[in-house]
Amino acid sequence: MTARAPVIVVAVALAAALALPLFVSNFRLFQFTQVAVYAIALLGLNILTGYNGQISLGHGAFYALGAYTTAIMIDQWSVPYPLTIVTAGILCLVVGFLFGIPALRLEGLYLALATFALALAIPQILKYFEHWTGGSQGIVLSKPNPPWGITLSPDQWLYYFTLAILVALFVLARNLLAGRTGRAIVAIRDNPIAAQAMGVNTALYKSLTFGVSAGYTGVAGALSAIVIAFVAPDAFNVFLSITFVTGIVIGGLASISGAIFGALFIQFVPNWAQDISKAAPWAIYGIFLIGFMYVMPFGIAGAIRRLAARAAHRGTAARA
């Protein structure tokens, strides 16, 4: 189950995050805002895959759906952006839930492939509905200015805005997963038949989990459209979905903090790889991936959990 990170660690992390804009440039802040966006998307995927055991290789599709919902609403109807984020979240929740229904019939591997197929089709579909989506040219948006005359740069404002949404969604997830719902979800992952025998409505929970997971990722997509101020089909190819899966595995399955570690990895490691080798940067990235899996097969969060458990065990043993 979710290991409860000690309150002090969370408090320190939060304080650091709030203070960040005072120390880093606008550009770095932009990168960290992206990290926050990815973290929300990864948490969404983790709820589905890590906690509920349904492997999805197509969450890029929900990210794209969220992003385009926002982009179209702002571009065509000048809807205020916070409203678009809510809409994107709800829309993706519904679509995810609907997708979750036929997904009930699919075993692990085949579900992975079905979601993979969904991710593949997305760029083509986006290009087809050119009238709405702007086709391959994409849609250009404007970065919002801070409201109410707050004296922050747009980058700083977006950072705090995204951070606030991140904290809210993380708290929501924590509450969801810590209670009965969470136990039911994990039970379905570990032993669906036993769970059903115990009275858990597996079909409903699985579909709902799909929906919530999609909703989270949709919100992330919507935020990304605002932060980057641009959407185009090429940004939402199947590699994005694969990157998300990479993120949750590296970060740590079935872990809320894992979403943050994973997001940091997928944002910064490709850049480092490029700094290390201009000739074959992705080879370096691949080596990082494989190396991480050797050293931390349960992800960063998993490794931390083990270290913490070992430290606690040693403590009690010493006292005994």
Binding site: S25, N26, F27, F30, Q31, Q34, Q124, K127, G135, S136, Q137, G138, V140, S142, S224, I228, A229, F230, A232, P233, D234, A235, N237, F239, Q274, K278, P281, W282
Partner: protein, 401 residues
């Protein structure tokens, strides 16, 4: 006393001017010019990565020969994997962190679209972008962005005009890549055909870059009864299209987009016999065309490739493209003299008069002005005679509409 006061005032003024100049010329010192660049070195568009490499090699040559007005070029090129969010991030890094003077030849339409507004808001030149889209030549709304090559739409115009003039009862079948590149070419054709477009174009077929073949599309096009084939494909698919059309016995008037008009890369593998009578419109010399074997420009290019970019392919059009656009930039920087402020760089880029570059086809010149942000607008029609491209007709000039 007075002298000292005057002297210190003078020094203070000079210091002020110097610091102001330094602030006005980010990325520029007395010894170097920092230039930013993004390219898809990885991912699905990685074939274009060689453009970044050949430009890097060319700037090394320029530096070896003393630089420009005493300054060496510090060319910072990074990978964006053809992903617009990555391009945004990388360009922001180049501008805000690396403090480059300007950004040069960034590649791709969606990628450049993603940074378009940003570059103009930050007032940083987005020079000679590597895409054939039409939207980059808009000095009124985007004074800091400038294209380079003839636009895809302009080339489409050329083919449309040719068909209208030379093919009565034309029935056009189009095969195009399902993205901005393909659609732009088709738009150019349709716009120039005007109201007749719907009547003349009998069938359109698309393909994705991830498709293995276009055989099925060719069969459909033949079946439509088209007698003109507008072939908007990248080299890999152009070869397939030419071959398959030949195999199924379809002999239309074949209009091939310049992107895939290399004799060595496309026509030879497709079959020289099958490629006979294909028409294209080019602006660069085709280095696989035997007619340039003894051309001075070609020989210089070849020598450059062998010395500075030996890993680079000597049959790849992209390596000619990069070489030429780099030369264009060097001319702009030379014209700047000692004033390398961003404003002046933009001004000089908009002041190219009849510039000839060695790998441009004879007669084609680079021209820009405060209202003309399309440096190259001329193209030459050519027909393939089984061995080489034979130029015919006048030089088409898109600016003379």
């Amino acid at each position: 006393m007075l002298t000292r006061a005057v002297l210190s005032a003078l020094i203070a003024t000079l210091a002020l001017v110097a610091s102001a100049t330094a602030a006005d010329t980010p990325g520029v010192t007395a010894t170097e010019i920092k230039i930013g660049h993004t390219n898809p070195y990885s991912g699905p568009a990685s074939a274009y990565g060689t453009i970044g490499k050949v430009i890097t090699a060319y700037f090394k040559k320029v530096n070896d020969e003393g630089g420009i007005n005493g300054r060496k070029i510090n060319f910072i090129s990074v990978d964006d994997g053809y992903s617009p969010p990555k391009t945004v991030e990388m360009v922001r890094r180049l501008v805000e962190q690396d403090q480059v003077a300007f950004v040069f030849n960034t590649l791709g339409t969606p990628t450049n679209s993603a940074i378009h507004k940003y570059m103009n808001q930050q007032k940083v030149p987005q020079l000679f972008v590597a895409t054939g889209a039409t939207k980059w030549g808009d000095p009124q709304h985007f004074p800091w962005t400038m294209g380079w090559q003839p636009t895809y739409q302009a080339e489409g115009h050329i083919y449309a005009q040719y068909v209208l003039k030379n093919v009565p009862n034309a029935k056009i079948g189009i095969l195009y890549q399902n993205d901005d590149y393909g659609k732009d070419y088709v738009k150019g054709l349709k716009d120039a055909l005007g109201d007749n477009a719907k009547k003349i174009i009998v069938m359109e077929q698309t393909y994705e870059v991830t498709d293995p073949t276009v055989d099925s599309q060719i069969v459909n096009l033949k079946n439509s009864g088209a007698n003109v084939f507008y072939n908007v494909t990248i080299p890999k698919f152009a070869v397939q299209a030419i071959k398959k059309a030949h195999d199924v016995g379809w002999k239309p008037l074949h209009l091939l987009n310049s992107v895939s008009s290399s004799v060595g890369v496309v026509l030879k593998p497709a079959g020289l016999e099958a490629s006979k009578d294909i028409i294209t419109a080019r602006y660069l010399k085709d280095v696989t065309d035997p007619q340039w074997k003894n051309d001075a420009g070609y020989k210089d290019w070849l020598a450059f490739m062998q010395k500075y970019y030996p890993d680079g392919s000597t049959v790849d059009d992209f390596n000619v493209y990069g070489y030429t656009v780099a030369q264009g930039l060097v001319q702009v920087l030379k014209q700047c003299g000692n004033d390398l402020s961003r404003a002046n760089i933009m001004k000089q880029a908009a002041s190219l008069k009849d510039l000839t570059l060695p790998m441009l086809l004879p007669g084609i010149k680079v021209n820009t002005s405060a209202t003309d942000f399309y440096p190259i607008e001329q193209e030459q029609l050519a027909k393939f005679d089984g061995e080489r491209w034979v130029n015919f007709g006048e030089l088409f000039d898109a600016s003379k509409k």
